[in-house]
Structure formats: C-alpha cells, structure tokens
Symmetry: C2
Subunit: 321 residues, 2 copies
DNA sequence: CTGAAAGCGCTTACAG
DNA sequence: CTGAAAGCGCTTACAG
C-alpha cells in the first residue's frame, strides 16, 4: 500500500491533523513543525490521496464528461472531439478521453469506476453487457454518430448521404459506377451504401463493383488505379474522404476523366478540391456536448423520458472532382 | 446535499449493506428486496458517489494524465494532443483535458482537486502561484512546447527555426523581407523572431517590416496584400502556417513573385504546397506522454532529480512557395 | 500551535 | 438473505 497521512504522522511524531494542515498550507503551524513534517513527507515519498481528500472535503467534481472512441479512430472523430472540447470548455466542463485499449471488457469495467458525470460514445454501439455496467451506476450516455432507437443518439443521415453521392455522379453523366469502402463493417457504411444503391437505382443506374480496403492512401491509390484500368469506370464513391485522397491522386496521375466523391468533408478536403458529402463534425460535437451536459444536470428527474433522437443532415459539396 | 445510500436504505427499510449489494448487482439478495430497493433508488434519484466508492473499495485510478492548453489553442496543439492520445492509449492511460475557462485562478484551484497523476502543460508558462498549488499536492508536470530551465520541459528550438526561415528566403534571393506575427506575446514568437533576425543578419540582410495580427485568414490576406502593394517585398515569414495561408492566397491572387514561408507544418500545409518550418507535433506529443508516464510511475524516488530538458529540432520544408 | 475524534459515502467481511 | 460495524485516507471543528 502507498504511504498515507498516518504514516507521515507517526514517522514525524505529530498528529494526522497537523500533517494535514501542513500539506495543505494552512496557517497556525509552527515553522519548525512544518519543516519537519514536510521533510518526512518527502522522505517517505508521501502523496496525498485525492480520492480521500475529495470525500472528506465534500468536493465532488461533477464537471467532467467522458468520451470513448472506436478502436480505430480516424480523423473525422478528431474533428468531432474538437467540437466537443470547445463546448465543454465553454460550459466549464473537463473532457476525459478514455483509453480504449485492447481488452474491451476490462476497459469498460475500468471506465465505470472513473469519476465522470456523463459519457459520449462515438461511432459504434456498446454491447448489452457494457450498457448494463453503465446503467447499474446510473451513468447517462449519448451515442454520437451512431443511431440506436432505444438509446440517446445524435447521428447523421447516412442513407441520405449515400443518395446524395449517387445523384452527384449521376448528374455528372457517369454510367459505370463503383464504390470503394472500408473493410470493417459499420452502421455508417451499411447505410451509406444502401442509400447509394437506392440513389443509383432511382437514376436507372446500377453499381458495377465494390471493393473494401483499409484506410490507407497507398492502398486506395492502388485499388483506384486497378479499377480504372480494368473496367471502364466513370465515377467512384468512397466511403470517406481519407480513402478518396488516394483516388484523387490516381485520377490526376492517370489523367482519366473520372468523377470522384468522398464523404465527411474533413478540413483538408476543401484544400484538395475534393467533392464530398459534408457532415459537420464540429456541430455534432457541440450538439453532443450540450446535450450530455443538460442530461447530467437534470439528474433529479427520475422519470423515464424518451430517448434523445436527433438526426443531422449531410450536404453535398461539389468541388468538381 | 445529494441523496445517499443511507437515504435509500432508510426509505426502503433495509440496511445500507443490502442496498449496496443491490446497486452493485451482487448475488444473495431476494428478488423482492432487490426490486423494492431499485424502485426507491430510482424514485429518490439516487446516484452512487463514485468517490466514496473508490475510497471504500480501495480502487485508486492512477491511470489518468491531465493536460492544460493555452486559452487560445490553435490547430498545432490539436496535432500535439493527437500524439499524446495515441501514446497514452498505448499505455492504458486516460487523457483528461482541463477546461481552461476564463478565470485562471479558480481554474487552477479546480484542477488541483481533480483526480489525475501527472500534468502536461502545453505552450505557455504557469504562474508561480500555480506551480505552488501543484507542488503542494506533489503533482508532477512537464511543459510541452515551452522551455523553462528550472522545470521539466520538452520543446522545439524556435531560434533555429527562425534562422532556417531566414536562410530559406535568403537562398531564394529575397532582399526585402518582412515578418508577419501574432499579436500576442509568447516565448515561441520571441525566439523565432530573434533567430530570424540573426539569420538575416548573417546573410547581410535586414528586416524591412513587421506586423502583428490575429490568427485569421482574412486578416492575414489583407495585410499581406497591403504589404505587397506598399513596399517592394520579396519574401515574408509568417509566425505560423495558419497565418501563412492567407498570405499564400494573396500571393496567388496578385500573381506577385514573392516568397512565403510559414511555421509548424500542419497536416494541411503539405496539401497547400506551403514551404514551412516543420515541428513534429505528433512526436512531441508522444514524447511528452511517455515522459510524464515515466515520471508518474517513478513516484518512489524522493531524490530531487535534475529537471527534464529536451530540445527537439525543427526542419526546413521547401515546397517552393 | 496541536491532538483526538467525528464524519465524508461507500464496501466488505462477519455474524446471524 | 440481511444488518451492524469497521475501515478506506483524508478534513475539520472542537478542545486544549
């Protein structure tokens, strides 16, 4: 066990009350005593236990919001986080980003023990077991960029986004159209893809091909090149901007007249002239932060209110790519 | 005061031990009792006090590192944070980002009470009073991107960076050279500027003008335009990339043959083709995270070791701008 | 100026 | 299955 205030008291020959006063810099302590105590504290490597201190002094920090990310967080999430941060900062809340670690089970046990008032869960669903852990501790949470009808969630309309992408390519007179996705199943991709296919259908078009890969610019460049060479492709829709960058590069290199559209509209994308489906990361971050703070502050209400359910609209951004 | 386990116990007619078992989902509780207790807990709006729980159960989370940002955090810091996050995540630590708020004094009092093991202070110095607060609680900290010989600090060599910028412009045959800075004093800017002037001197050049402005692309665009028109300028060094973007735009618009160089090398800058002085944000973040974890884990050592003092080198990136 | 004691809100054997 | 009690490491009046 770590060294406690009691150890310091015994070792220095004073009472724990006095030690406490010294450590906290209260007045009314003889200079000599102070020095002695400080010295033994240092010698023993004493470090006050903040938990105990908080409990004893009745200071309960309720002003920390936790967030948990998917195991592979891509850039879009960092833009969301920056929105969350601004808003929380505005409201005087701290932001606690949990390590997601390798072992989900243990991590969740760990999270549940930490001191925070509400949790923002980014981009992916929790297991029932995990939700149970949170609920057992009466911890409120909101899904961000993930939709669950049973739970609080603020999300984007991915179906619509997919449809917008389809209409973009259709309007640019593309006939042979492909989709390049991520090799990880996700709600976002499923819906985006479904919307995309429907959108194509409505225009009387049909998807030619779909390939799922890692998020890696080189990989995306290679695959795009391959696809362009093998088939007579007019347009490609990428699951996200980060994938599309490689495509953009392939397009330029090969000088092919092909249409490329991404998804997210990361900050960088505007500089690159990439057409894309814009999801306002900052806004959803701010919105999520606002809502979790509200939820946390409304503690009292024991009523089972309807879960929060907010859908944000993506927008087509045509940069001519 | 909030409702406690005692309140629930009394209201439900059971002992606090039983309530505790129910809340924590332990077995050996009659189903009927469980339901009753859960109901009154809900009715009363009971929320377990995590602090008390931690203390009682002997669980002391030592795996959280705090960070505090400057009041106006610009993008460079977010790139540092992403480095910090990766490394901490690797090590199983959480990241607690403190709100910096408006009132520095209160904020620091508040921070000192939070539960974290070590602090990373980004980009600016703490007041003596603030350091005192930390030290009184035996809280270790490291400055990141700020240099203080008396304290642990990991930082970039801004003098050298300034010098590199000077040599860049000199080699591109610029003779009339200006500096556009930020209208806030900072160690970084002071050193960068000094290095820059020295660098110019060595090449037999002299600074023509210096203007300090807000970080705002429009503003920077306007000022650059003005400077180009008024004086016969061949090269401009901007305090940071974010300022340089406006300059880049002005240069393109006016079609003037002028050299532009920024500082930081934000991710975006490579896409924009901006020449700049690269500081590896991710690296310093990772480095800082590693070091603070080491420091925190070496708790025991009561010896007064030398403060950590690490200097990282910036690098010139010539993208022809 | 200093010590003894109560108390912060929980958990956890120990009896029953 | 449940209650009473000790204890987690501190703070804070209250005496002295």
């Amino acid at each position: 066990m770590a060294v406690t205030i009691k150890d310091v008291a015994e070792a220095s020959g004073f009472g724990i009350g006095t030690v406490s006063r010294v450590i906290n810099g209260k007045e009314y302590v003889k200079e000599e005593t102070r020095e002695k105590i400080l010295l033994t504290a240092k010698r023993l490597g004493y470090r006050p236990n903040k938990i105990a201190k908080m409990l004893a002094s009745g200071y309960f920090s309720d002003s920390t919001i936790g967030i948990i990310l998917p195991e592979i967080a891509h850039r879009f999430f960092f833009e969301i986080i920056s929105g969350i941060y601004s808003e929380l900062n505005e409201q005087g809340y701290n932001l606690l980003i949990f390590n997601i670690g390798k072992n989900r089970e243990q991590v969740f046990e760990h999270i549940a023990r930490e001191n925070f008032s509400g949790l923002l869960v980014l981009g992916y669903p929790m297991a029932e077991r995990e939700k149970k852990i949170l609920r057992a501790r009466f911890t409120r949470f909101i899904y961000l960029d993930y939709m669950d009808r049973e739970e609080n969630s603020i999300f984007f309309d991915n179906q619509k986004g997919g449809r917008l992408a389809a209409s973009y390519l259709a309007e640019k007179d593309c006939r042979n159209i492909c989709f390049i996705g991520r090799n990880i199943d996700s709600q976002q991709q499923a819906e985006r893809f479904e919307g995309f296919c429907r959108g194509l259908n409505e225009k009387g078009l049909k998807l030619k091909d779909r390939i799922d890969i890692e998020i890696d610019e080189e990989e995306s460049y290679r695959v795009t090149e391959e696809i362009i060479k093998k088939r007579d492709v007019h347009g490609i829709f990428y699951f996200c901007d980060e994938l599309a960058y490689g495509g953009l590069r392939a397009k330029e290199k090969l000088g092919k007249d092909i249409r490329i559209i991404g998804y997210d509209d990361l900050i960088i994308s505007s500089f690159m002239g990439l057409s894309t489906i814009r999801q306002d990361a900052r806004s959803i971050g701010i919105r999520g932060a606002k809502k979790i703070v509200e939820l946390v502050q409304s503690k009292g209400s024991s009523e089972e209110e309807h879960p929060l359910f907010e859908c944000m609209e993506p927008v087509l951004v045509d940069r001519g790519s």
